[in-house]
C-alpha cells in the first residue's frame, strides 16, 4: 500500500500528488513530499527503527524533532554515507537510501540483543570496572569487541564527494527559531527598519503552529506573518538552518542543510553551509521540547511524546496507533488527545494529577475521550510494539492492564536553554513550570516564547513582540511597528495555564531496572541509583559515570528527568542540583561542513613565485616549502630527485646554474635612522656598511639565541634591502614592525615587505660572470667593479635590476632582483644568454646540498635553542654596540665549551648512508640515551664522492678528526663517521672571490 497503512486520508502538510520512493535496509517504501524519513516510516507501519546502544532493545521514534534519541540511520553509501542521521529531521527525498544502525543482522532480529539478558552486569561503571581494571592489557583486548557491539554509525574512509561552504553574514537582529515568538519578533523588528536574519531549523516557518491542524485557526495567522516577512526587503529568512553555537561578541554559528535539494558538487552547489553570523542583537526563541516520563519499559516502540504524536497526525497525516493512551502530568497533552479522538478508534487520558481543569474535562467528554485522574502507567506490554499498559491508581490500589497500540506521554516541557548556556550563563530552575530557563541574557540578547518557561501561544506572541521591539531599539530602530496580527482565541489546553505536577518516576521499585531515563545511552533509573551509591553527587560526575546525556542527542530528552531523579536520591531540590553544561554544537555537524571549502588545493593559501608558470612549463618537479611551491628539481637533470640534484650540483660546480630565489623574505628598510635600526637588530654592524655593499647578518631573538639570518644591502644612506630566510620571512617582518612601532618609536625608520615586489634569481658557478657579461653587455661586472658582497643598481631595457654579488653555494655567484612582473622575461633573458656557457636551472634539493658542502647554515641549523657560538658565528658579534639578545646571550650556561656546536661529519663507510636526525656517539660510547649530538643536514656530495653532513656535537670542533658513530635506531643503523670542519669545500673562499 503506497499511502502507508497508518496514513490518514486527508489533511497534513504533505503533498499526496508527489510520492517519494525510498528504501530502508533495502526494503522499498513510498512517502510523500513534505514527509520526514520518520513520518514516512511511521506511515508505513514501521515501528522498530533501531536497537539500543548497550542492551540492543528494539526502539522506535520517540519524538518528531531534533530531540529524538532513537531513530538514527546511515544515509547514502560510499563517501556520501552519513551516519547517525536523525530520521525525524531528514527530509524525505526521492531515492533516499537509509540503513539502520547498531543491529546485526537486522533491527527485527538482532544477535546483540543477548546483551539485554546480561543487563544486570552491564550497568553503569561496568566497562570501567571490568576492563580498565587491574591491568591496562585487559581493556586493550576487549576494546575492539566492545566497540563493535556498542556503538552508533560508523565513519567512512572514502573521500566525501560533496561540497561544503562557509560564509559570513551580518545583521542587526538575529532571530533564532521561527515559532510564534520568533515570527512575531522578526516581524516587529523588520517593520521597525532593522536588518533581520530569521533562522529556522525546519523547512517551514511556524514552529509548534505547524503541528496544529492545517485547516485550523492558527494557520492563517502563520501564513500572513510569513508573507509579510518575505515582503520586507531587509529581512532574510534561512530555513533548514540550525544555530550550532553561540559565542562571544554575538557571534553565532549556523548550519544550513541542503540535502533535500540534491545539490550537485560539480556545479558548485553545497550540501551544507556553515555561516558565521555577527549580530548586533540576538533574539532566542528556540522553544521547548517535551519531556518523556520515566516508568518501566517506557522505551518500547509505540511509546512517544504526546506532542510528537500530534505532530505526526496533524502535519504528516500519520496516525501512530488506533487505540491510544495519553499519559500526562500537565495540560498540554490534552491537545494530542483531542486531535486524535475524531481520527482513531479510542483515546484514553491517564492523568497523574488529582484535579483536572473543568474546561479540559468538558471537551474530553464531548469528544468521547475517557479521562482517569490520579492514575499512572506503571508498565508496558509488548516487546517490539506496545500492546497494552498497566494502569495503577496513584493512591496505591492494584493496577489493571488495558490494551492499546500507542502510548503518548508528557512529562512537561524543557526550554531549549542551550544557546544561553553556550554563552556561559547557567540555567535557572523555574518551579511553577517545572523547567530550567535561561539564567539571564548577555547584553543585546533577548528571550521569547516557550524558552522563557511560558508555554501558551498568547504569551509566545507577546514575548516575541516585546523582544523584537527591544532588539530593534537597541540597534537604533524605534519606528512604530503597528499592531501584531491578532491571534485566534486559544484552545482550552493552551489557555488552561499549563498547570503541571512534576512526577519524575512512576512504577515504584519496579521502575529501577527497565525504566529508561536516557534512551540513546541506555541509562536506567537503576544506573542513577548506582551512581548515587558510588558517591557521584555532582551532575557532571553523574554524566561521565553513567554516560547520561552523551551521544548524538546530548540528552535533550533525558537531562532534566535524570537531574530530578538524582536530586531526589540526594534529598535536595532540583534547583540546587543544577544542570550539566550545554556546549556547542546543538546538533551534530559534519566535519566536512566545518571544513567548508578548505579541502584539497584550497586547504590553505599557497604562495607562488613570479616564475612559477615557467617552472611548470619547463620540467620542474615542485615541492611544498612552507606556504611556497618551489622547484625541487628539473627533469633536464634526471627523472628522479636522487639523480637530478646531483647533476644540477655538478653543473653549478663545473659551469653555471640559475635558481629561483624569489621566496626569500625581502624587506625594504628606509629612513634617516635605518642604519641605527639595523645595528640594533643584527649582532654585527650595518651602520658603517658603505652604500653599494652587502653584508651577511645574524639576528638573535630577545632570549639571546638564534632567530634568523640573511644578507642586507645598503642601497643608499637611508635605505637598505634586507633578505631573510624563506621560512623566517613573515616572523622577521612582524618582529621588525613590532620593534619599530613599540620598542623604538623614536627611530625614523619604515619597514615594508617587498617579497612580492621583486623576483629573485641566483646565478652561480665558475662561469657566472661570463653569463652576466653576455646578459648585461656594457655592465662592468669585473672583480674590481663588483667584488664579492658588492651591489649594482642598474636598469636593463628600462627594467630596474638589483645585482648583488653573494654566494650561498660557495661558487662565484650573483643574486639578481627585478620587479616581479618582469621576472619570467628576465629569467629567460639570462637563460638564453647563459646557454653557450651551459647554464641550466637548478632546484631546491641542489640548492640545499650545495650549501651543505660549503658549510652554510640554513633552516635546520637556525634553531632557536642554539647560540651564535654554537654555530661558530661568535666572532661576528660586535659586543661594543647594543643589539637584541646581547645580554641574555652572555648567560653562563649558553657559553660552556661542552655545548653541542656545529661540526662537519663525513661518512667513513662506502655502503651505508647518513641520515638527518641521526644520533651521534663517540666511537667508545655505549649506544644509549640521547648521545652527544645529532645530524641536522645531510647530503651525498658529488664533489667529495661521499655522504657528508652538518650536525651539532658536544664540544664541537675540539673533537676535530675523531671517529664517531651516527646511530639511527628507527632502522637499527649505525654508521662510522668522522668529525670535520663544516666547510667541506673551498675553505679559503677562492671560488667565491674569483
Amino acid at each position: 500500500m503506497s499511502a502507508g497503512s497508518h496514513r490518514v486520508r486527508s489533511g497534513g502538510r504533505i503533498d499526496r500528488r508527489e510520492p517519494r520512493a525510498f528504501s530502508l535496509d533495502g526494503r522499498r517504501l513510498t512517502g510523500y513530499r513534505g514527509d520526514t524519513l520518520a513520518s514516512a516510516l511511521l506511515a508505513a507501519g514501521v515501528a522498530v527503527v533501531g536497537r539500543s546502544f548497550k542492551y540492543h532493545r528494539p526502539r522506535g521514534f520517540v519524538t518528531a524533532g531534533v530531540d529524538d534519541p532513537n531513530g538514527l540511520f546511515t544515509l547514502g553509501t560510499g563517501g556520501r554515507a552519513e551516519p547517525n542521521a536523525q530520521g525525524t529531521v531528514v527530509q524525505l527525498t526521492d531515492g533516499l537510501r537509509a540503513a539502520s544502525q547498531n543491529a546485526w543482522p537486522s533491527v527485527r532480529f538482532d544477535v546483540g540483543a543477548i546483551n539485554s539478558w546480561f543487563a544486570p552486569v552491564l550497568q553503569a561503571g561496568f566497562y570501567y570496572k571490568t576492563f580498565m581494571g587491574p591491568t591496562r592489557r585487559a581493556w586493550m583486548f576487549y576494546e575492539r569487541f566492545i566497540r563493535r557491539a556498542a556503538g552508533l554509525g560508523a565513519a567512512r574512509h572514502d573521500p566525501d564527494p560533496d561540497r561544503y561552504e562557509t560564509r559570513h553574514l551580518f545583521t542587526d537582529v538575529l532571530v533564532i527559531g521561527a515559532g510564534p515568538a520568533g515570527l512575531s519578533a522578526a516581524l516587529v523588528a523588520g517593520r521597525a527598519g532593522a536588518r533581520v536574519l530569521l533562522i529556522e531549523q525546519d523547512g517551514l516557518l511556524g514552529g509548534t503552529l505547524l503541528s496544529d491542524p492545517v485547516d485550523g485557526q492558527t494557520e492563517s495567522w502563520r501564513v500572513r506573518l510569513e508573507a509579510e516577512l518575505e515582503s520586507l526587503p531587509d529581512v532574510r529568512i534561512l530555513r533548514h538552518t540550525t544555530a550550532l553555537g553561540l559565542y562571544d561578541g554575538n557571534t553565532v554559528i549556523l548550519l544550513t542543510r541542503r540535502d533535500h535539494c540534491a545539490p550537485d558538487p560539480v556545479q558548485g552547489e553545497a550540501l551544507q553551509i556553515v555561516t558565521t553570523v555577527r549580530a548586533k542583537t540576538v533574539i532566542q526563541s528556540t522553544g521547548a521540547i517535551e519531556r518523556p516520563l520515566v516508568f518501566p519499559d517506557n522505551d518500547r516502540p509505540g511509546v512517544m511524546t504526546a506532542s510528537a504524536v500530534r505532530t505526526y497526525l496533524n502535519r504528516y497525516a500519520v496516525a501512530c496507533g488506533r487505540n491510544a493512551v495519553v499519559l500526562t502530568n500537565n495540560d498540554s497533552a490534552y491537545a494530542a488527545a483531542f486531535d486524535l479522538a475524531p481520527r482513531i478508534d479510542r483515546v484514553t487520558v491517564i492523568d497523574v494529577r488529582r484535579a483536572i481543569h473543568p474546561a479540559l474535562a468538558t471537551q474530553a467528554a464531548s469528544l468521547g475521550v475517557e479521562v482517569h485522574a490520579a492514575t499512572a502507567v506503571t508498565g508496558v506490554l509488548g516487546r517490539t510494539r506496545v500492546r497494552g499498559v498497566t494502569l495503577t491508581p496513584i493512591d496505591g490500589a492494584r493496577g489493571r492492564s488495558a490494551a492499546c497500540d500507542l502510548l503518548c506521554m508528557s512529562g512537561g516541557w524543557s526550554p531549549l536553554v542551550h544557546l544561553s548556556s553556550h554563552g556561559g550563563i547557567k540555567p535557572r530552575y523555574q518551579a511553577d513550570s517545572a523547567a530550567f530557563v535561561p539564567g539571564g541574557y548577555a547584553p543585546g540578547h533577548f528571550g521569547a516564547g516557550a524558552l522563557t518557561g511560558r508555554f501558551s501561544l498568547g504569551e509566545a506572541v507577546a514575548t516575541g513582540w516585546q523582544a523584537g521591539v527591544r532588539a530593534a531599539a537597541d540597534c537604533g530602530f524605534e519606528r512604530a511597528a503597528g499592531e501584531a496580527p491578532t491571534l485566534p482565541e486559544g484552545a482550552p489546553w493552551d489557555t488552561a495555564n499549563h498547570r503541571i505536577e512534576p512526577v519524575w518516576t512512576l512504577g515504584g521499585a519496579r521502575a529501577a531496572k527497565a525504566a529508561f531515563v536516557d534512551f540513546q545511552n541506555d541509562v536506567t533509573v537503576r544506573d542513577l541509583e548506582i551512581a548515587h551509591q558510588e558517591g557521584y553527587e555532582s551532575v557532571e560526575h553523574l554524566k561521565r559515570f553513567t554516560t547520561l546525556g552523551m551521544g548524538t542527542d546530548q540528552g535533550k530528552t533525558s537531562n532534566i528527568n535524570a537531574l530530578a531523579i538524582m536530586a531526589g536520591l540526594r534529598g535536595i531540590e532540583l534547583a540546587e542540583a543544577g544542570t550539566t553544561t550545554f556546549r556547542p554544537p546543538f546538533v551534530p555537524a559534519r566535519l566536512g561542513a566545518l571544513a567548508g571549502r578548505h579541502v584539497g588545493r584550497h586547504f590553505r593559501p599557497v604562495r607562488r613565485s613570479p616564475l612559477h608558470a615557467w617552472h611548470l612549463g619547463h620540467g620542474a618537479e615542485m615541492i611544498e616549502a612552507g606556504p611556497w611551491l618551489r622547484p625541487w628539481y628539473y627533469r633536464w637533470a634526471g627523472q628522479t630527485v636522487e639523480l637530478a640534484y646531483l647533476e644540477e650540483m655538478r653543473r653549478v660546480r663545473e659551469a653555471v646554474g640559475l635558481s629561483d630565489v624569489s621566496t626569500l623574505g625581502k624587506i625594504d628598510v628606509q629612513g634617516p635612522d635605518a642604519a641605527e635600526f639595523l645595528d640594533r637588530l643584527y649582532v654585527n654592524g650595518f651602520a658603517r656598511l658603505p652604500v653599494g655593499k652587502a653584508r651577511y647578518g645574524v639576528m638573535l631573538n630577545d632570549a639571546g639565541t638564534i632567530f634568523d639570518d640573511g644578507t642586507t644591502t645598503r642601497l643608499a644612506e637611508t635605505r637598505y634591502f634586507m633578505t631573510t630566510t624563506t621560512a623566517g620571512a613573515a616572523e622577521v617582518m612582524s618582529w621588525l614592525e613590532f620593534l619599530a612601532q613599540t620598542a623604538w618609536p623614536e627611530l625614523r625608520v619604515h619597514v615594508s615587505s617587498v617579497t612580492d615586489e621583486w623576483a629573485g634569481i641566483a646565478v652561480a658557478g665558475p662561469k657566472a660572470r661570463a653569463v652576466l657579461e653576455r646578459a648585461l653587455p656594457g655592465c662592468d661586472v669585473s672583480n674590481d667593479a663588483l667584488p664579492h658582497m658588492g651591489c649594482l643598481e642598474i636598469e636593463w631595457d628600462r627594467v630596474p635590476v638589483r645585482l648583488i654579488r653573494l654566494s650561498f653555494s660557495g661558487e662565484l655567484a650573483y643574486e639578481l632582483y627585478v620587479p616581479a612582473d618582469y621576472g619570467t622575461a628576465f629569467w629567460e633573458h639570462l637563460l638564453s644568454s647563459g646557454e653557450p656557457c651551459g647554464m641550466r636551472p637548478y632546484g631546491l634539493e641542489a640548492l640545499a646540498s650545495l650549501r651543505i658542502e660549503k658549510g652554510h647554515i640554513a633552516g635546520a641549523e637556525l634553531d632557536p635553542r642554539l647560540t651564535l657560538n654554537d654555530l661558530g658565528l661568535g666572532r661576528m658579534a660586535r659586543p661594543e654596540k647594543p643589539f637584541i639578545g646581547r645580554e641574555l646571550a652572555a648567560r653562563p650556561l649558553l657559553n660552556v665549551p661542552e655545548r653541542p656546536s656545529l661540526v662537519g661529519i663525513e661518512c667513513l663507510e662506502p655502503g651505508p648512508r647518513l641520515r638527518g636526525g641521526a644520533i651521534l656517539f663517540a666511537a667508545s660510547d655505549e649506544m644509549k640515551g640521547h648521545g652527544r649530538g645529532y645530524v641536522t643536514s645531510v647530503t651525498w656530495s658529488p664533489t667529495l664522492g661521499k655522504f657528508i653532513a652538518l650536525g651539532l656535537y658536544a664540544g664541537g670542533l675540539q673533537h676535530l678528526g675523531e671517529e664517531i658513530v651516527c646511530a639511527f635506531p628507527l632502522y637499527g643503523e649505525r654508521v662510522r663517521a668522522r668529525i670535520t670542519s663544516p666547510v667541506f669545500l673551498d675553505p679559503k673562499g677562492e671560488r667565491l672571490h674569483a
Partner: protein
C-alpha cells in the same frame, strides 16, 4: 623591452565580455602603486608634498579613498598611504604622452643603449617606472618619509555583478551590506588567511588588491567560490576605472 607578465597569466585567460552575466571576474592591469609613509610628526609635511606634486589630498580616515588627477589614495595605517595611479603615463593625461625618454633622467652607460646606471643616490632608486611616482620622489626627502613602489607586489582583481557581494562574503568577514559598505568604501581585511584591500568601486563592483605571490591561490579560490553562480573571466587592460565615472567621489 622585456615583457611584463601577470601573476595570473597562465590561470586566467579571458573568456568573453561578460555582459549580462551574474558575475564577471578579472584582473585590472596597467596601474602603478606606491606606498608613502610619514613619520610621527611629518604627516602634514607629507600631505603638502603629495598635494604639490600630484594635486591630491591624503585621506584622514581608513574608510574611503581620496582621488584627484588620476591618483587614488588609500590610507592604510596611522601614517601610511597607498597611492594608485596610471602606469607609464603622465598624471591626468589621457594620451600616452611619449614620456619614455623624458621620464628617464638616469645617465646612459657606455656599451649598450638598453643599460643604465640608476643607483646609488642621488640618482633615483630602482623600482620606479612611473613618472608620477618620480615626481613625488623629488619632493619627499628621507627625513619626511619613505616611498616604496609596490606596483608588482599586488595583483588587482575585480568582481562585478549581482553575485559579487555573496561570493565575497564566503571568504571575507566584512559587512558588505550596501548601506554599510557604501560605494567607494574600502577595508583592509583578510580573505581566507591572506591579507587584502577590498574596495567597492561601484554598486555591484568590488576590487581586491592581493599580494602577488598569493594571487594565483586567491584566483583559484574566488573562481571556485563563484562556481555556483556562474561567471565569466574578463581582462581589463587599463586602470582607468580608478577614476571611472562609476565611482561616487
Amino acid at each position: 623591452m622585456l615583457e611584463r607578465r601577470s601573476a595570473l597569466e597562465s590561470l586566467a585567460p579571458p573568456t568573453g565580455k561578460g555582459e549580462g552575466r551574474p558575475l564577471v571576474i578579472g584582473e585590472v592591469r596597467g596601474f602603478a602603486l606606491l606606498q608613502a609613509a610619514a613619520f610621527v610628526g611629518t604627516v602634514a609635511a607629507l600631505e603638502r608634498a603629495v598635494r604639490s606634486a600630484l594635486g591630491v589630498d591624503l585621506p584622514k580616515r581608513i574608510d574611503a579613498p581620496r582621488r584627484a588627477n588620476g591618483i587614488c589614495v588609500f590610507k592604510t595605517g596611522p601614517e601610511q598611504f597607498l597611492l594608485v595611479g596610471p602606469q607609464d603615463a603622465q598624471v591626468a593625461s589621457t594620451e600616452h604622452a611619449g614620456l619614455e625618454s623624458s621620464s628617464h633622467p638616469a645617465p646612459l652607460l657606455a656599451g649598450d643603449a638598453r643599460l643604465r646606471r640608476v643607483g646609488p643616490e642621488p640618482v633615483r632608486p630602482a623600482g620606479a617606472t612611473e613618472f608620477w611616482a618620480d615626481t613625488l620622489r623629488e619632493v619627499v626627502p628621507s627625513a619626511m618619509g619613505s616611498l616604496t613602489s609596490l606596483s608588482h607586489g599586488r595583483t588587482r582583481l575585480f568582481l562585478e555583478g549581482a553575485a559579487a557581494r555573496e561570493v565575497l562574503s564566503t571568504g571575507i568577514a566584512v559587512d558588505l551590506h550596501p548601506e554599510v559598505f557604501r560605494c567607494d568604501a574600502y577595508a583592509l581585511t583578510g580573505l581566507e588567511d591572506t591579507p587584502v584591500l577590498l574596495h567597492r568601486t561601484d554598486s555591484q563592483r568590488y576590487e581586491l588588491y592581493v599580494l602577488r605571490t598569493y594571487a594565483g591561490w586567491v584566483w583559484e579560490w574566488l573562481t571556485d567560490a563563484a562556481l555556483p553562480f556562474g561567471y565569466e573571466v574578463v581582462k581589463k587592460s587599463h586602470a582607468s576605472l580608478i577614476v571611472g565615472p562609476n565611482v561616487r567621489a
